[in-house]
């Protein structure tokens, strides 16, 4: 099977280029296996990967124009030659390895932990099954970055717009019955950039390998702002 892979080594002084590889395939082969086969052919090739089963979120890449998690992408579904590039809009460190610093900074900015006004109890803070259900579709995010790096608003303003991943996480804490900092969280999201750069383009929903829906979460945040305002 034919692959065209983005190659860039800043130390070589060469410009980025696409390199062709021919790979022996096997039944059930995932894109990550193909990248490993390329690595076996050419050890100068660099990409990130770890768990191999869609849990760690390390091997997000751009395949034939769409962001995908390599380890859960069967190559049988891909059109030849398979074009593999690094995430769009991110500074390339080498080959498919990109600098995700801004992405993590945005996640950090939403303060992704439970905040309590009341003193923390000795035991766990209990939650009704209905309240727990509100976190479904939110807590599953593995932070692979497929969504944020496929979002045009994030391409345009990565330093100011939080991006779909951080906004999904922001809603995950706003929706949590145990969190007691809703007003601060909403105040933080105010302004034209952090939340309101989202124009519901929905690329995030299209590419999320876990089938999550950041656009819907963003809609919930806006709804909550509206409820608090009236």
């Amino acid at each position: 099977m034919k692959f065209r892979v983005y190659r860039y080594d800043p130390e070589s002084g060469q410009k980025p280029h696409m390199q062709d590889y021919d790979i022996e395939t096997f039944r059930g082969m995932m894109l990550r296996d193909a990248l490993k086969a390329i690595k076996a052919q050419d050890e100068t090739f660099a990409f990130r990967h770890s768990c191999g089963e869609g849990v760690c979120g390390s091997d997000g890449v751009n395949v034939n124009g769409t962001n995908k998690l390599a380890c859960v992408t069967p190559i049988a579904d891909l059109k030849e030659p398979v074009e593999v590039r690094p995430f769009p809009g991110r500074p390339v460190i080498r080959d498919l390895v990109v600098d995700m610093t801004q992405f993590y900074e945005q996640y950090k900015a939403i303060e992704p932990w439970l905040k309590r006004k009341e003193p923390t109890p000795e035991q766990e803070i209990l939650q009704s099954p209905a309240d727990r259900d509100k976190l479904d579709g939110l807590y599953e995010c593995i932070m692979c970055g497929c969504c944020s790096t496929f979002c045009p608003s994030f391409w345009w303003n990565p330093e100011k717009f939080l991006g779909p991943q951080a906004l999904l996480s922001a809603w995950r804490f706003l929706a949590d019955s145990r969190d007691q900092a809703k007003d601060e969280r909403l105040d933080f999201l105010e302004g034209p950039y952090k939340l309101f750069r989202c124009h519901s383009i929905m690329n995030c929903v299209e590419v999320c390998p876990k089938g999550l829906n950041p656009t819907k979460a963003i809609g919930h945040i806006k709804e909550l702002m509206l409820k608090k305002a009236v």
Binding site: W156, D183, D187, L189, E190, P192, K194, L195, R197, A229
Partner: protein
Amino acid sequence: MSRQASGFRAWVYQRITAVLLLLFFVYLLSTLSFAPPADFVAWVEWLSQPLVRIGLLIFVGALLLHSWVGVRDAIIDYVHPLGLRITALTLLALWLIGTGLWVLTILG
């Protein structure tokens, strides 16, 4: 709860004006397709009805506000150098205000 005009309120204005624009567009399209004013005198007569006048004023106000939020969004997305952005936003504001005043002189 303090929400500034720049983010949340701009979004709310955009949504509300969108509904107003839709309602008036439906009225305008149906009037102009089923009972269009035949000549200049009929146009003046149509426009002199108080309800049409008020509706039109609200429509133009909503249109200007909606344009401000929408084009401002596009400028924030694409125009990054600060000087250029301020120039673009100022030109947009002047153009929208000018359009509003022009409509007022026509209807006034």
